[in-house]
């Protein structure tokens, strides 16, 4: 696992920092410096709320190498309330309790560790809200 690569992406991964297009207002995640709607440069940071809903989901029974210790786990496509869609694991929810349209919120969790002595990679996952907040 690449230390520089994970380090470079940490703000996106820990906090859902993306971009907003100054021209058309589109919110962009992950940041790509170019607006996918109007194709002008877009570099203004925008922090997403983390709220979204489940567009689709699947439980993984045959994980890739780095994720073996966590299997089985559920992954999902989550439509963020600001527009973009992300791919992420779901957490703090039983596989049988997930449904399309379910509202979820972002939490920062361990994604994987590089063995017992390597760097721990943290990033975004989504879970049902703990409690409705005023």
């Amino acid at each position: 696992m690449s230390i520089p690569k994970n380090w470079r992406l940490r703000q996106q991964r820990y906090r859902l920092v993306g971009e907003v297009c100054e021209k058309c207002g589109a919110k962009i995640f992950p940041p790509r410096d170019l607006c996918p709607q109007c194709e002008v440069p877009a570099k203004t940071p925008f922090v997403f709320s983390g709220r979204g809903e489940v567009y689709s989901y699947s439980t993984v029974y045959n994980p890739p190498r780095a994720f073996e210790e966590f299997a089985p786990y559920t992954v999902a496509l989550v439509r963020l309330e600001e527009g973009p869609m992300v791919t992420a694991q779901l957490t703090d929810v039983d596989a049988g309790q997930v449904s399309i349209g379910m509202p979820v919120e972002m939490v920062t969790r361990k994604i994987h560790a590089d063995g017992e002595d390597g760097v721990i990679v943290y990033g975004y996952k989504f879970r049902p809200a703990v409690a409705p907040v005023a």
């Binding site: 690569k5 992406l9 992950p30 996918p36 567009y55 689709s56 989901y57 699947s58 439980t59 993984v60 029974y61 045959n62 994980p63 890739p64 190498r65 780095a66 994720f67 073996e68 966590f70 786990y73 992954v75 999902a76 496509l77 973009p84 869609m85 992300v86 791919t87 992420a88 694991q89 399309i100 994604i111 994987h112 990033g123």
Partner: protein, 386 residues
């Protein structure tokens, strides 16, 4: 620009080739194809492969395969487009001949997956997804397909069992293909009970790791009429791309790259879906087959699965698919698959498909999909006497 034709085909059986390494597999396929084409030399060699660096400790396949196959010195390089690598190599070969820059071209697709352990193979095929935003979250490639399948079921009201016909059809045809990896039938009941891989995709709805190589020899159509008793014209050869990650797609349930690729190929060939006699589509799993049928214009959005349910995908149906077993039963040695598809269309158009023969096949379509649909490459082949 001149017309291009296929004048020779060759393929190895698809299985776990414990006794055969990558370069030998490629050599076998190339030898058979060149013999079939009745040529002993070529101007160029393009090698379609996705995972040699990761699973076989080898890049630089162009030079390696050229030398191994008795073509030392010719123009040669590896072509990669994830699971569509074989088709991408065929595209390169087509362009080389069409442009006049080469007269006889060998295209070989080869993949050697089974020297590696299962979880390394799972990790490797995830290279076809978005590394930073899909694979990095713990998704194997099958999980991305599974996300599409579940959404498709949700939007159009299908059940899991509705996907069984693709597996049943593929295995029925694979039984009659001596080169196929799996030559046993599969029933709908077995499909219902198969173990989940990434749900709702199960073991009978996904492709197993395997090894294989397939090759074609290309020449200009004019030369082909002289060189070959049954030349097959490449009437359409086109590529479309899309966002790498499913979450960036305009509509995750429409393979825009396949729509583009098919439309461009139809345009070149001057045909439409109604003219296509068989469709070797990329049936890595039932959902990709359903979406491919829709993108290529054989069914409306959300109705691709209905074609399978109504029995239209069999040899006698209106759009036969996986006629020699498809990715499901013939097998999916990832980077080689695109060439296997082309070889099978040629067999059909030459009338050599045996028990799986589509009656009076004149126009066949082969389509390869990279990853979850980010690269789609379509070839339309046509009998030259039609």
């Amino acid at each position: 620009m001149r017309d291009v034709a296929i004048i020779g085909i060759g393929q190895t059986q698809i299985r776990e080739h414990w006794d055969t390494g990558l370069r030998q597999l490629a050599l076998q396929a190339v030898q058979v194809a060149m013999a079939d084409a009745n040529v002993t030399q070529a101007d160029a060699l393009y090698v379609g492969n996705m995972l040699s660096g990761t699973l076989a400790d080898q890049e630089h396949l162009g030079a390696l395969v050229a030398d191994s196959a008795g073509l030392r010195g010719v123009e040669a390089f590896k072509v990669e487009a994830a699971c569509a690598s074989g088709a991408a190599a065929l595209r390169m070969g087509t362009m080389a001949v069409a442009s006049g820059m080469a007269n006889v071209v060998v295209v070989v697709g080869v993949e050697k997956m089974t020297d590696a352990l299962a979880s390394d193979i799972t990790t490797a095929t995830a290279l076809a997804t978005d590394g930073d935003y899909e694979a990095a979250q713990g998704l194997p490639l099958v999980a991305v397909h599974a996300l599409l399948m579940r959404r498709y079921m949700h939007e159009y009201g299908y059940s899991h069992q509705d996907f069984a016909p693709f597996a049943v059809n593929a295995h029925r045809n694979g039984k009659n293909n001596p080169h196929a990896m799996f030559r046993f039938p599969v029933t709908a009941e077995q499909f219902a009970k198969a173990q989940m891989v990434c749900d709702p995709i199960n073991l009978l709805d996904s492709s197993a790791a395997c090894d294989g190589a397939a090759a074609v020899v290309l020449a200009s159509a004019d030369a082909a009429r002289v060189l070959s008793p049954a030349p097959i014209r490449i009437a359409g050869s086109a590529v479309g791309t899309d966002t790498l990650a499913v979450h960036d797609r305009r509509d995750p349930l429409v393979l825009d790259a396949a729509v583009l690729s098919a439309r461009r190929a139809y345009g070149q060939a001057g045909v439409g879906p109604q003219d296509v006699d068989l469709f070797e589509l990329h049936d890595a799993c039932g959902i990709m087959a359903a979406l491919s049928l829709e993108a290529a214009g054989f069914a409306d959005k959300g109705q691709g699965l209905r074609l399978a349910l109504e029995g239209e995908i069999g040899i006698e149906g209106c759009v036969p698919v996986a006629t020699m077993g498809g990715l499901k039963a013939r097998g999916h040695p990832v980077g080689a698959t695109g060439i296997y598809q082309a070889v099978e269309v040629v067999q059909q158009l030459r009338g050599l498909a045996g028990a799986n023969q589509v009656p009076d096949a004149r126009i066949g379509m082969a389509q390869s999909i990279g990853g979850s649909g980010a690269t789609v490459i379509t070839h339309i082949l046509q009998r030259m006497d039609s």
